[in-house]
């Protein structure tokens, strides 16, 4: 009785939140920035400090806006870096205790590999300076040339930072795509095979696909829009994960012969929850930093859309899981928050405020049914990465056209072409490369090793050496 009352109350709250109509908050930002930058009398008077005056002398009155923008981008890069800790904790919490070292190890490897491959190949392959037609560019190492300069010479007010800040911010993004795969294939993938696959994915496939939009390639020329990567990062990672899971097969013992599912429990709900809160925090950098300047209005707006979409996603999946599976499932609520975040990523700067609530809410509904669906068709994804990143990534990209602010001019068809291109490319690339690895060196650990745990099997280590886990 009590529970039913509570459910009703929450539903009413949700409806009230959806009905709230708020005027769109963001217009003419570019002009505002340009005004603030170009009008010297709008700047606060510099203190009488000789060093400061010398800096202004060298860099002009634009110095303050540039410095703040650059600093914001670097802080955002730090926040995106923190997301890797979020993935590491979420994935290990959702895995069994006997595979914890292996899950953490993959996350450690990915961030190290991701940054370095982006340095030597990815960054220049992703931002080659196409003119609206490009499909593929050859990468090259980042060099010391043209990356400094504390004026607007690197990217104007639209990309208001040094080249170094641009590089490190984008490098943090790159590794994310492979991290998404890591969760879905956890608990049975062979470590060496994963390392080879994820390196090829992050080094070659991700920058190539990214260049289609962010490197001013062919999708950019079509008018496709993906603000911070619902398609470019998340759907890409999600569909790469789907391909790998199909080739890999489910964890042993999950899908029984009689058609029933025997759930394999994650070993630490506290770790999983910490992970999602870290990802939520990091997402302020992921989306907020994608403004690519410290434009006060736009960065603030993006923070708001990001947070409300996450909140709506979390609430939606709480309701839906409670109704559909009869219990308020914590892991579903966590997935719902992430679904909302993935959903808002494509349009965090360009949808209406009400739109951002609805995008998150629908993402939270989609993700629960997607997870149940994939389980039904025996596609085993321990953390729900395919549903969260793949399915909700597509939803978020389409939602840009549905909930756009007046006059944005985004086309649904173009958004559809764009997001399907990313999903299909990631899927096909992964089927081919992971397929080749499967045939040549194998992708799965032995049955004995899977039963014994990958921690001892792959690493000869235990995550919790003085505890006896229940389900060894």
């Amino acid at each position: 009785m009590k529970l039913r009352l509570l459910k009703l109350l929450m539903l009413a709250l949700g409806i009230a939140a959806c009905g709230f109509s708020v005027a769109s908050a963001q217009d003419e930002i570019i002009e505002a920035v340009a005004e603030a930058v170009s009008a010297p009398d709008a700047m606060p008077g510099p203190p009488a400090d000789e060093d400061y005056l010398a800096l202004v002398e060298t860099h002009g009155v634009t110095f303050d806006f540039f410095t703040i923008s650059n600093l914001w981008t670097l802080i955002a890069a730090g926040l995106v870096f923190l997301m890797h800790l979020g993935f590491a904790t979420l994935e290990s919490g959702m895995a069994q205790a006997k595979n914890t070292v292996n899950v953490l190890f993959k996350n450690v490897f990915i961030i190290c590999m991701g940054i370095l491959t982006y340095l030597v190949w990815g960054f220049n392959a992703m931002y080659p300076g196409f003119d609206g037609s490009g499909f593929f560019a050859v990468g090259s190492p980042v060099t010391m040339a043209d990356y400094g300069g504390t004026d607007f010479s690197y990217g104007g007010t639209g990309l208001c930072m040094t080249g170094w800040a641009d590089f490190i911010f984008q490098a943090m993004f790159a590794a994310t795509a492979a991290t998404i795969v890591s969760g879905a294939v956890a608990e049975r993938i062979k470590l060496s095979s994963f390392m080879i696959f994820s390196t090829l994915l992050v080094m070659f496939a991700y920058p190539m696909a990214g260049s289609w939009k962010w490197g001013a390639g062919w999708l950019d020329g079509m008018g496709f829009y993906d603000f911070a990567g619902s398609s470019i990062v998340h759907a890409f990672g999600g569909f790469a994960a789907l391909a790998c899971v199909l080739l890999l097969g489910p964890r042993k013992g999950k899908y029984l012969d009689n058609g029933k599912i025997k759930p394999i429990l994650g070993h630490s709900m506290p770790l999983a929850t910490i992970g999602v809160f870290l990802l939520f925090l990091g997402w302020f950098g992921f989306n907020g930093g994608s403004v690519l300047s410290a434009d006060p209005e736009l960065v603030s707006f993006v923070f708001v859309t990001t947070a409300v979409a996450a909140a709506a996603g979390g609430l939606a999946s709480i309701f839906v899981s409670w109704i559909a599976i009869k219990k308020p499932d914590l892991t579903m609520a966590l997935n719902g928050i992430l679904a909302g975040l993935v959903g808002i990523t494509a349009g965090a700067d360009s949808v209406t405020l009400l739109g951002s609530v609805i995008i998150g809410f629908i993402a939270g509904i989609i993700v629960v049914f997607a997870i149940l669906f994939f389980d039904k068709v025996k596609i085993d994804d321990p953390v729900g990465a395919i549903s969260v990143h793949g399915i909700c990534g597509i939803w978020g990209t389409l939602a840009v056209a549905i909930f756009q602010q007046e006059g944005s001019g985004f086309s649904f068809v173009t958004q559809l072409i764009g997001t399907l291109s990313y999903s299909a490319f990631a899927f096909i690339f992964s089927i081919i490369i992971f397929g080749i690895i499967k045939v040549t060196m194998g992708v799965r650990v032995s049955e004995d090793e899977e039963a014994e745990g990958l921690d001892v099997g792959e690493h000869g280590q235990e995550a919790y050496p003085y505890f006896q886990p229940d389900t060894k």
Partner: protein, 112 residues
């Protein structure tokens, strides 16, 4: 000498221990165990899939006592561990052939 072996609900352990101390029992061995009886298990749910937990956690208390106070011990445990609901546990009484206090080599009831 008798060995009183009580399998009880874990959260009842403190009460049982207190009650046994009050009647002068000075030692016991406690083990965390799992099992099922008439209570059977219960179902839990994880990400939409139900599963049954067959083995429920219990605590097993072993107490070696002189034969004359075995009955009193059993009564005390039963009283302290009772909730009246299914799953309260069981008590077994087993004869002990011999007992030795290792430190002093004492044998028999004096060693308890």
């Amino acid at each position: 000498m008798k060995l009183v072996k009580a399998i009880i609900k874990p959260f009842k352990l403190e009460e049982v221990k207190e009650a046994l101390s009050e009647i002068g029992i000075e030692g016991m061995t406690v083990t965390e165990v799992k099992g099922f009886g008439r209570q059977k298990g219960h179902t839990e749910i994880y990400r939409g899939s139900e599963y049954t937990v067959d083995f429920l956690p219990k605590v097993m208390v072993d107490i070696a006592v002189p034969s004359d106070i075995a009955e009193k011990t059993v009564e005390t445990i039963a009283k302290a561990a009772k909730t009246g609901k299914i799953g309260d546990g069981k008590i077994f009484v087993i004869p002990i052939e011999e007992a030795v206090r290792i430190r002093t080599d004492e044998k028999g009831e004096g060693s308890l």
